[in-house]
């Protein structure tokens, strides 16, 4: 049975799209058939993160009634399939979110996991993305506004009968000004399933249009997302340690004949 998982946050800019894109690639590397759908039609970024911008048919066209969903599925990095939202604002007014439901019905038939990147907020498009899923991953940063919005999203999702898998804390920092993991768990009443540290590598990877789990699989963020992916499907994941020895020390050891 196909799992439909929405990644939602409430607040914008918490890294929801980055996590969705990388999680999709991570799940695909475990051999799952994964479709990542960018439901954020107003602020589409998924295609930029995955380096897939400029596709001719997008979700925009599907929701406008100008194209079929099958034509908007593209092969992405690591074998993940992607339905980009389309960056153009043209035709945004023509969009009918009602069409999302029928599009999803078709997508579900052709995949193991459908990951939906929900728009921020609780407007109709966001609610449609949440309501479409059976399961949800809540993304938040350890800051008060983010937690507050995540709380609203969680309660609405509960009401819509969506099973919340847990919270992913993104951009975690060693700073006492932020909420602790246990505080977040207490407030949201949802377990924390992953903690992703603040990582400059994320923006670097985005600039290259490459998912971080592909570009830098040794980074802490990649390891955290791979672990999250493994947990979701009950796989084992062995974190990839960064190269322990620097070039110079390797060279010295090589010269000394040690290994």
């Amino acid at each position: 049975m196909t799992r439909v998982i929405t990644v939602a946050s409430g607040k914008g800019g918490v890294g929801k799209t980055t996590i969705t894109a990388n999680l999709g690639v991570a799940l695909a590397t475990y051999g799952e058939e994964v479709i990542v759908l960018d439901a954020d039609v107003a602020m589409a970024n998924l295609e930029l993160i995955l380096g897939m911008e400029g596709k001719s048919v997008t979700l925009h066209d599907v929701l406008s009634g100008d194209a079929d969903i099958e034509d908007a599925i593209y092969e992405g990095p690591g074998g993940v399939k992607v339905v980009p939202a389309g960056i153009s604002l043209e035709g945004l007014r023509k969009i009918k979110m009602d069409r999302l439901e029928s599009a999803l019905e078709i997508l579900i038939e052709s995949t193991d996991i459908l990951l939906i990147d929900a728009p921020a907020g609780l407007e109709k498009d966001a609610l449609a993305a949440i309501a479409a899923a059976q399961e949800m991953i809540l993304v938040t940063t350890p800051e008060v506004p983010s937690i507050s919005d995540a709380l609203k999203t969680k309660i609405v999702a509960n009401r819509l009968g969506v099973d919340i898998l847990g919270v992913v804390i993104n951009r975690e920092q060693h700073d006492k000004t932020f909420l602790t993991i246990s505080e977040i768990e207490t407030i949201l009443e949802v377990p924390v399933i992953a903690v992703i540290p603040e990582d400059n590598e994320v923006s670097r990877a985005a600039a290259f249009g490459e998912p971080l789990v592909v570009k830098n699989p040794k980074s802490p963020t990649s390891n955290a997302i791979m672990q999250l992916g493994a947990d979701l499907i009950g796989e084992e994941y062995q974190p990839i340690e960064p190269d322990k020895k620097g070039v110079i020390s390797k060279l010295v050891e090589g010269l000394l004949g040690r290994r």
Binding site: L127, V156, L179, I181, E183
Partner: protein, 435 residues
């Protein structure tokens, strides 16, 4: 700190590098440059000139605090250490550039640096704690850095040089290091001492110390030794004054403790004298710091307290219902469609007929309740006939105004009918015709 990141001359992870040896080598060779320490998302720098540390930063900390943080970070096996070489003039420039981080050579910071260097390698490796809970790691380190009975009371700053130079706090630390030693050998004596003191807080702390794992004790003892060493010099002066203040009770306690302490750690004579007076000072420190400690340690578990603390508003059922109502697009039951059509029709008709010069009107309302509520309203107006001249001059304009007025009336009627979802008005198409 602002540093020119080029190619490092050496790169290593904390668990693979003897940091004290590195520092010694840098000092021995009178090297110039800087060390970058990267632990998770935090970065720290130690700028050294002629082999001596001249500036330090770590995350948002500077100087000695930064060194302490770097020291803590070195406990993490994944901490990356990079050494960058620089010329003496370059270091001068960097020093000038990073003035706020410059370590004052007059202070005893250098001693502390030396000790910190040692701890980096001497401190036995703690079992790597889950990366998911970095704060736990940090707090546990704070605990190990602070001494046993103080652990709950002192924040990270407790190791700072400022506090170290203050006699009461410094005394307390030495005393605690002794307590710790004695507790490891003669655990039964500790509660006695606390009874004398009469401080429940202290007794709780000691109990905890007794129960601690041997590894933790080893960490603490090495830290205690380190502090002891670094504090020896600045303590010589306050020692006298403190000794005079010692109360009978505290002397008693000192008597209990000293033999065991001597056996284990063989503390210098200075420490023995200092110790008895500490209990009094300790009490003061503890009593004054307890509320603070409560704030740090007793994390509010209660959700409502947390929400209050962070000013987060809990979401009410009614709010969610309203939100979802709007999501549903104000969909009404199919049975209600006809009723709503009728109500809307009558409402619009009544309002339109209120406009002067309108002889009659016919209003038709068609609602579409499929998935989302939409509608079409057709309004046919019978308008009072005008004179010939009026027809030529201004009927067209009057008709436009009238059409606008009727559309407004219809929109108001829709909004009135759907108070919970006024946006539904945008889903209606309103047509006005003149007969």
């Amino acid at each position: 700190m602002e540093m020119p990141i080029t190619k490092p001359s050496m790169v290593s992870y904390a668990d693979e590098l003897d940091f004290s040896k590195l520092m010694k080598d840098l000092a021995k060779d009178h090297k110039n440059g800087f060390i970058r320490v990267t632990s998770r998302s935090e970065e720290g720098y130690i700028l050294y000139k002629d082999g001596k540390q001249v500036a330090a930063s770590y995350d948002r900390f500077s100087k000695i605090e930064a060194l302490e943080k770097i020291n803590s970070a070195l406990g993490n096996k994944n901490t990356l250490i990079e050494v960058f070489d620089a010329g003496p003039s370059q270091v001068d420039y960097l020093l000038d550039l990073n003035k706020p981080y410059t370590i004052d050579e007059d202070s005893n910071v250098y001693d502390v640096i030396g000790e910190l260097k040692k701890t980096a390698t001497e401190t036995p490796e703690k079992p790597p704690e889950k990366e998911l809970k970095p704060e736990v790691t940090e707090s546990s380190k704070v605990e190990s850095t602070d001494n046993l009975s103080e652990a709950d009371n002192l924040s990270e700053d407790s190791v700072s040089v400022e506090k170290v130079t203050e006699p009461p706090v410094a005394d307390e630390k030495i005393d605690l290091s002794l307590k710790e030693d004695s507790s490891s050998n003669e655990p039964i004596k500790e509660p006695e001492k606390d009874e004398n003191v009469g401080s429940s807080q202290a007794s709780v702390d000691v109990d905890e110390s007794i129960e601690r794992a041997p590894v933790e004790k080893a960490v603490e003892s090495s830290v205690a030794d380190r502090l002891e060493k670094s504090l020896n010099e600045p303590l010589k002066e306050p020692e006298k004054g403190v000794g005079v203040e010692s109360s009978p009770a505290s002397v008693e306690m000192g008597g209990d403790d000293l033999p065991s302490a001597e056996k284990v750690a063989e503390p210098p004579v200075v420490d023995k004298k200092v110790e008895p007076s500490l209990n009094k000072t300790e009490l003061e420190v503890e009593s004054s710091e307890t509320p603070k400690a409560d704030e740090i340690e007793e994390k509010p578990v209660d959700r409502s307290e947390l929400l209050k603390k962070y000013g987060i508003k809990d979401v009410q059922d009614g709010d969610v219902e309203n939100l979802l109502q709007s999501y549903k697009g104000g969909i009404i039951d199919d049975d209600d469609v006809e009723r709503v059509e009728l109500v809307l029709m009558n409402l619009i008709k009544k309002s339109v007929l209120g406009i002067p010069k309108i002889k009659g009107t016919e209003v038709m309302v068609f609602l579409d309740n499929y998935k989302e509520l939409t509608g079409t309203i057709n309004i046919i107006i019978e308008y009072e006939s005008q004179g010939f001249l009026n027809r030529i001059m201004g009927q067209n304009r009057t008709a436009v105004n009238l059409r606008r007025q009727i559309i407004n009336i219809a929109e108001i009627a829709i909004k009135k009918s759907f108070r919970q979802y006024p946006e539904v008005v945008e889903k209606f198409e309103i047509n006005v015709e003149f007969s």
